[in-house]
């Protein structure tokens, strides 16, 4: 059974998701989903331990050799991302019981949790797979289910439909670009397996064969992935989708979906095309750094202008994605380590903060700035979590957010790029502004008449919020383990295909 963990990581949520349709009403779908995500999380830890100890693991579906069938390949990089995704999935699922009951019509909770598990299955599958077309198929599952989950909206907020529709359109454009890119690559390499494709591509690039096709495939993949990870200026789908989605869904999506897209980008740029091509033959570094740098500044300003706190966090997510993109675009070990470790830290921080907002929404029925005024006394634990998360977003030392920025900063100087370092710092400054606006309202604002009687959110919700925020603090203080994992991943990625050679 241990050997089958790679398959079960994805198959289990899939089958469980389908079975959820039959679980009936009440808390049963939730309990079922919680159990499954818990098991998946445990498996991800086992897998990560195995990969760290003994190197990459491969699983062949249908027992066909990986070049013919579909293979999962888990190395230090995706082992780490799997851990992040399944951790967030487990916590948000446990959290979701009351919040989802409150926001989703109760006659379709089983459908909701079925889609929820399928989303998780898709995200895990994208991360774990070693097959490029499999990436696309699982991307479809995760996207399609996410569109629906987001469209449900916070208490069927109709703006969620518009937001979701925009996500559908841009997401589909992104996915089809990916498909075109993968198709072109398949056409000239004759394979879909990532390791194999990498080997073949290196030979082709070296011999200068099919160079125009490779170039076009690269361009399409890069644009498609940028859409999926919401890189400025292709970010338009994200803010409203996060703002109007149900609270628990926002928590799950914000912490995982874009992270998985980032992982895919790193995998394609470093793992499949190889850094010599991605940052040598085509100088994508400058383009990516420009987009991400401008994005950090622009989204920071936007975040400071929002009145819905969920919106603030959504815009801030875009900025944080910018940091991650900056990190790997620097094309050196420190930068990439920073990116990878920031995937974890930002997932924890942003997940926790959105869950905290979910608590607010549960008690007050909204997450506008006016709702949060004076909540520091009414919901001390939730608000403390939010504040701690906010410090993380700023990148305050001793929080998880700082570690990633530190390494990205080191990477920037290793690359001799002082300008981007200044941009990162200006971004942090904007983060200070938008976080401080909210925190000030929380602790120094006068409570609105409607929220005078608000009390602390239910324990289960607060505990989940604190698990994520607490972990982000732990990752900020005792960060060696996460940085070591990230550095391993970075080394593996820089070496071409995750250490398979």
């Amino acid at each position: 059974m241990i050997d089958s963990i790679p398959a079960l990581m994805v198959v289990l949520p899939l089958m469980a998701g389908v079975i959820t349709v039959f679980t009936g009403k009440g808390d049963k779908p939730w309990a079922w989903a919680t159990a499954i995500t818990g098991i998946v999380f445990a498996m991800s830890i086992a897998l990560l331990a195995e990969v760290t100890a003994h190197g990459p693991v491969t699983y062949n579906f249908g027992n066909w050799p990986s070049q013919y069938g579909i293979a999962y390949t888990i190395d230090a990089m995706n082992g780490f991302v799997l851990f992040v995704v399944s951790l967030i999935a487990a916590v948000t699922t446990y959290y979701s019981r009351l919040s989802v009951k409150d926001e989703i019509p109760n006659d379709r909770l089983h459908i909701f949790y079925a889609l929820w598990l399928l989303t998780i299955c898709g995200l895990l599958g994208i991360t774990i797979t070693g097959d490029t077309f499999n990436v696309y198929v699982l991307l479809e599952i995760s996207s399609l289910t996410l569109y629906a989950l987001i469209a449900m909206g916070y208490r069927r907020d109709r703006r969620a439909l518009t937001a979701s529709l925009r996500y559908v359109i841009l997401g589909s454009v992104g996915a089809s670009f990916l498909l075109l890119g993968i198709g072109y690559l398949m056409m000239i390499t004759g394979t879909l397996n990532m390791v194999d494709m990498h080997d073949r591509l290196q030979v082709l690039i070296h011999n200068d064969e099919y160079s125009r096709t490779i170039m076009v495939a690269y361009a399409f993949l890069l644009v498609g992935l940028s859409l999926k990870l919401a890189l400025f200026p292709l970010h338009m789908w994200l803010p409203n989708a996060y703002t109007y989605a149900p609270s628990a869904v926002t928590g799950l999506v914000a912490a995982t979906a874009t992270k998985v897209a980032v992982y895919m980008t790193i995998r394609f740029l470093f793992g499949i095309f190889g850094r010599d091509f991605s940052f040598g033959a085509v100088e994508s570094s400058d383009v990516l750094l420009t987009c991400a740098g401008l994005g950090v500044l622009y989204t920071g300003i936007q975040a400071a202008r929002q009145n819905n706190v969920k919106s603030v966090l959504a815009w801030s997510s875009l900025g944080q994605i910018g940091y991650i993109v900056i990190g790997f675009s620097l094309n050196n070990e420190n930068g990439l380590t920073g990116s990878v470790v920031h995937i974890l830290n930002h997932a924890l921080i942003k997940g926790g903060m959105f869950l905290a907002l979910g608590c607010v929404a549960y008690r007050l029925g909204g997450t506008r700035l006016t709702h949060l005024k004076g909540l520091g006394r009414k919901m001390p634990w939730t608000m403390a979590a939010f504040t701690a998360g906010g410090l993380g977003l700023i990148g305050f030392p001793l929080t998880g957010g700082f570690i990633g920025k530190w390494y990205i900063g080191l990477g920037a100087l290793d690359a001799g790029n002082w300008l981007i370092l200044v941009v990162i710092m200006l971004g942090s400054l904007l983060a200070v502004i938008y976080v401080f606006r909210v925190v000030y309202a929380i602790y120094f604002g006068e409570a609105e008449p409607d929220s005078v009687h608000a009390t602390e959110a239910p324990a289960s919700m607060v505990v989940c919020t604190w698990i994520l925020i607490g972990m982000s603090l732990v990752c900020g203080l005792w960060s060696e383990w996460s940085v070591d994992l990230a550095a391993n991943a970075a080394k593996a990625m820089l070496a071409g295909f995750g250490g398979a050679h």
Partner: protein, 285 residues
């Protein structure tokens, strides 16, 4: 060969004409019919390329069932497309042209159609077509060294020499690819279909009576502020329209049972209301 090229040319011409007509037509009923025609023509193209399975699917799904489903949608949406204010969106045209241009540029280096020397033919797939791929002995599968080692020696060859050679044979290569070698993908494709169905159920199913009751109780806690229409910054989120005229969903009305039901209906109307504009923006990307 020449005959095939002529047929291809004619089909391509017809496909292009149909596509342009779909774009230009304002009567959605006619557009639906034309998409059916388009799919049928495409099925012919696939057949011409010897991709019979694809052609079959295109005919069944594209020309058949999706036409019916689009018609079903038209019942809600109506058959008239609203006039657009700007007939030609230059930036969208530019981006679409660039994308198309890039795709064509990429084909310049591609192996010719049906070229027996193409990597797809020579690299791995010859063995797939011959269905002569050996399975990996179970005991070797779990560490990448074994597989990487296999990759260096050109895949399954050492397995082919293995005494446990696999002799499975399926007449339709496409099916063997879809349902055997890559059946894991196909499983997820099926799951994609299922999630589409589940999404439809979740978003469109009418609420049961008990649910409506529960919702009414819940709305008493809803703060009016959340329902207020929030205008986003026009510069950054150009495509967000105000979803409904101000005041139409005031807090008082929302508490009423009727409003709850109306909301469900509205949500469907909402899609129709926004769809054309959103699609516009989608083209620009």
């Amino acid at each position: 060969m020449l005959n095939l090229l002529v047929i291809d040319g004619v089909l391509l011409f017809l496909v292009t004409i149909t596509a342009l007509a779909v774009i230009e037509m304002r009567n959605l009923f006619a557009v639906t019919m034309l998409t059916g025609v388009y799919s049928l023509l495409m099925a012919a193209v696939w057949t011409n390329m010897h991709a019979v399975d694809v052609a079959f699917t295109e005919a069944a799904v594209g020309a058949g069932i999706s036409t019916i489903l689009i018609l079903g949608t038209l019942v809600h949406v109506g058959v008239k497309e609203r006039r657009r204010e700007k007939s030609l969106n230059l930036s969208a045209l530019l981006i679409v042209t660039l994308t198309g241009g890039a795709l064509i540029y990429g084909t310049l280096d591609m192996p010719a159609f049906g070229d027996p020397e193409a990597p797809v033919q020579t690299h791995r797939f010859q063995k797939l077509f011959d269905q002569n791929v050996g399975k990996v002995p179970v005991t070797d599968t779990h560490h990448v060294e074994a597989v990487a080692h296999g990759a260096e020696q050109h895949g399954g060859e050492q397995h082919g020499a293995h005494e446990d050679e696999f002799h499975g044979h399926v007449y339709n290569t496409v099916t063997s690819l879809l349902a055997d070698y890559r059946s894991f993908d196909t499983m997820f494709e099926t799951a994609v279909i299922l999630s589409a169905g589940l999404s439809m159920i979740m978003l469109l199913r009418r609420r049961s009576d008990e649910e409506i009751e529960a919702a009414t109780q819940r709305t008493e806690r809803v703060d009016p502020d959340t329902i207020k229409t929030e205008r986003m910054d026009p510069k950054t989120t150009q495509t967000v329209r105000v979803d409904s005229p101000p005041g139409s969903d005031s807090s008082g009305a929302d508490k009423k049972l009727a409003a709850e039901i109306a909301e469900a209906v509205d949500s469907a109307e909402q899609i129709q209301h926004d769809a054309p504009e959103e699609t516009d923006k989608g083209d620009q990307v």
